[in-house]
């Protein structure tokens, strides 16, 4: 699975993107955020409040209950501040 990070999520994790092999029990966006949080201090700092993290699957907004596709580009980012 390809993961991409933006803004302070990117800065806190210290990576702009990575490819990960997800364990079988990670089925939804919420599972993914929870699993990532356990990968180290940088991840737990970025995802300490999972409720504020916004997610896009293949460049479309998705909510935390969405099931993950087998292969996708999943982006994690803070609430947007464009315009």
């Amino acid at each position: 699975m390809k993961l991409i990070y933006f803004a302070w999520v990117r800065e806190r994790i210290g990576l702009s993107d990575e490819t990960v092999d997800l364990p079988a029990e990670v089925k939804t966006v919420a599972d993914l955020l929870n699993w990532l949080k356990g990968r180290g201090e940088n991840y737990s700092a970025a995802l300490e409040r999972p409720d504020v993290i916004r997610v896009a699957i293949n460049q479309e907004h998705a909510d935390h209950s969405t099931r993950l596709p087998d292969h996708a580009e999943i982006a994690l980012f803070p609430p947007m501040t464009g315009g």
Binding site: I4, F6, A7, W8, H61, A75, P79, T81, G82, G83
Partner: protein, 156 residues
């Protein structure tokens, strides 16, 4: 309602010219009765800010703005719609975003431009970082609850 026009969406580092973009929607046409143009600029917050830096999600930024623009053309009878959003470092006084909506009648043009800006603020994947004057400090702008309130105006 089927979409009334094909929106023009651009995400770019370069500046844009609102007058040129307005002309693009009116040149050679006799059916346009109203053009509403909104330009968002970088302000210095009473001297506090040296610049804004806009990060974006390439690919999704264009796709998400196009989704919002297509929703607007389905909702209002527009003859033309242009949305341009810049990224990168932008100084106070410079342009950030442009929405130009053209229609036969003013209400559709006003409402479509207003709708586009409300949705761009909280759905288009851009993030602003503030560079503070006289300091190396830079901090991310936080999303406002009022941005989500603005979206509710268009429900139902």
């Amino acid at each position: 309602m089927s979409p009334t026009c094909d929106p023009l969406v651009r995400v770019q580092a370069d500046d844009f010219d609102p007058a040129t973009e307005t002309r693009r929607l009116t040149a050679g046409r006799r059916d346009v009765g109203a053009v509403v143009s909104f330009t968002g600029l970088c302000r210095d917050e009473n001297g506090r800010l040296e610049a804004l830096e806009l990060e974006h999600y390439p690919g999704m930024a264009e796709a998400e703005i196009a989704r919002i623009a297509n929703e607007a053309t389905g909702r209002w009878p527009l003859t033309g719609l242009t949305v341009i959003h810049r990224f990168g470092k932008i100084a106070p006084g410079e342009n950030i975003v442009l929405v130009v909506a053209a229609s036969s009648h003013r209400r559709a043009a006003f409402d479509a431009a207003d709708f586009l800006m409300d949705f761009l603020k909280s759905r288009a994947p851009f993030w602003k970082k503030e560079h503070v004057a006289g300091s190396t400090e830079a901090g991310w702008v936080e999303a406002k609850d009022s941005d989500l309130e603005d979206l509710k105006r268009w429900e139902g």
